[in-house]
Assembly symmetry: C2
Homo-oligomer: 362 residues x 2
């Protein structure tokens, strides 16, 4: 215990929750112990709720299984996916912290080129605490990093930057490929460490992966909905993509930034490409309409909160994507349910007070 | 000579010119000999035309001084800047090759992290010969690079990419900072090697530096005008920026890509920040209007060639920027003169034939 007492307090220790969706024992946390042990974990147990998930000793956590989700949300639990890692967004909703880091349980600590263990969480926090630059591209990447700055020709009025809402980290070893690419390139591994963080420009969409992701929950939380995937749904593996497209459109509207690049985690195991193809194939078709849709979305000026933006977006989804497949009508309704559930668990105003109220009422 | 005969032919040997603006002897070429020796050089001598510029032996080159420019262009020579490296664009105009690489004479060969000399030109050629992806962001950077691909969620219909018009390379050692940043951070050096090439997304402007730049002259050449800078003009050091903003807007309209990142060169010497401040200060003000202007430019559908786009842009410059300062009226007229001179030296149709005609008429 004497040893523990001299540990330095990590950044944002009391302002960040780590959200982990899982169906298995969380042995992977052993490797993350030096970096995660002082933070609070929110574990969202997917699948059979009667199964017991073992969490290594010494971690501070709360765990929710499907029964908990149903109990807490009641009929609104329908918006939380089952048998799909999309269920993780329930953790975002029950958290009361300002920041979230979410990671998959097949992700391990990666090493930088000097062979040092990468503290992924610390890098995400740095990304989230420094501004973003979505309005003009800086060719030397993150201008706020030590040893870097804005280059000649970068407008001075834009150098203050904007708040960063999302920090999207990358993966060494198994790249995040779709099923067709997995099938075509079964042996491809990512060994390239690109030492950069950059802001994804305003107006540009990107494929957001939920494997290694940090965000400012207070800013963008209500838009971090991972949609309807998995059990009873026609698609899977588009949960994080869906969230990313919604989030990016809303960040662009609100004037916030999305960063990608560092940190890397070590992605240990490729999922089964045949299973993935079954989950993805409708998404692969639909995506060809989804991208032009999201590229064309213009949110009205009246949308001054993320909730208002998201409700507006849900209407556009029903109207423009509904004709493609009834799934999108269902999804648009789930988007509304999500916001209702979010607002119920997160009443406007004093977050810590509402936290206590909520806990007392369970 | 036996040795020379076994040298492998470098990529695009007969399809690329290296353009170098200079006021001094080109000793810096010694270091580039292994990479440049088999290419043709176009040297644009700035300043006093009576001075003799020494070029190391063994290089194949043509050299133009101010007298040559005046003789070749006649009254249209007014569009070519004097006493400013913006004069380099004359080299783009007289070239008849498909590709251009331009480099400053204070740029040396950089080393990669494994301490190997970087063949900057070869990397630019790779960038130019592979497609670009301006319509959607790929989080693992250049998807066409060996060991990389498009990640999950990248629309399949966009994976063919678009032609690459520009390859913008970076700088180790002295970063390309403006005068205020140079003054504030006199000792800052760039030592970060970021192992990535990426496409600057459609709709996003960037600060294009002319120090280490490759482009497809056949595609975008007529828009690579470096403006009116230096002698008799109220600003300097915005030549490449101006070209970059025009080029990016036109590439976005035409559906072509602009890449930035690798390769690095070693930038040896910072220019004088006090001199730079004098050259830049009007640009620093004006830029605050220029960026919103370029961000708002919409070129009409009728603009189906770069020339038409550029003439349209010149009209918008006169109309929208003219009220800021008479300089922009002058610049807009120079933009038209540039296109007239370009078309005169580069008649549509058979490039090699027009090349011969032009040479005969001098």
């Amino acid at each position: 215990m004497a040893e523990a007492s001299v540990k330095p307090t990590p950044l944002l220790k009391d302002e960040l929750d780590i959200v982990i969706p899982t169906i298995r024992n969380l042995d992977f946390l052993e490797m993350w112990r030096p970096f995660f042990e002082q933070y609070h974990l929110i574990i969202v147990q997917d699948g059979d709720p009667s199964k017991t998930i073992k969490v290594p000793e010494g971690f501070d956590y709360e765990l929710y299984n499907r029964n908990d989700i149903n109990r807490i949300l009641g009929p609104k639990a329908s918006c939380i996916s089952f048998k799909d890692s999309a269920c993780r967004c329930f953790g975002y909703m029950v958290s009361k912290k300002k920041y979230i880091y979410t990671i998959d349980d097949d992700c391990f600590v990666a090493k930088d080129p000097s062979n040092k263990d990468i503290n992924a969480l610390e890098q995400h926090i740095k990304n989230l605490l420094s501004p973003a630059t979505p309005n003009f591209f800086n060719t030397l990447y993150d201008p706020y990093r030590e040893g870097a700055d804005f280059v000649r020709g970068y407008p001075f009025s834009l150098r203050e930057g904007v708040p960063t809402a999302v920090s999207h980290g990358l993966w060494l070893n198994i790249p995040d490929y779709d099923a067709p690419t997995q099938l075509v390139k079964p042996r491809e591994r990512n060994s390239r460490y690109v030492d950069a963080v950059l802001t994804i420009p305003k107006g540009t969409l990107f494929p957001m992966c939920g494997m290694n992701l940090g965000f400012n929950r207070e800013l963008i939380g209500p838009a971090m909905y991972f949609g309807l995937m998995g059990d009873g749904q026609p698609i899977g593996r588009y949960d994080d993509m869906w969230a990313g497209w919604c989030v990016k459109v809303i960040c662009d509207h609100m004037g916030w930034g999305v960063k990608t690049g560092l940190p890397y985690i070590w992605h240990s195991k490729a999922s089964n490409p045949f299973t993935n193809l079954r989950k993805e194939y409708k998404g692969i078709f639909w995506q060809e309409d989804l991208i032009p849709f999201f590229q064309s979305v213009v949110l009205p000026k009246e949308c001054t909160t993320v909730q208002k933006c998201y409700i507006e977006l849900s209407k556009l989804v029903k109207e423009k994507l509904g004709p493609i497949d009834p799934y999108f009508v269902k999804l648009s309704e789930a988007m509304v349910t999500w916001i209702e559930a979010w607002d119920e668990l997160n009443p406007a105003g004093d977050a810590s007070k509402s936290d206590r109220r909520r806990k007392a009422s369970f």
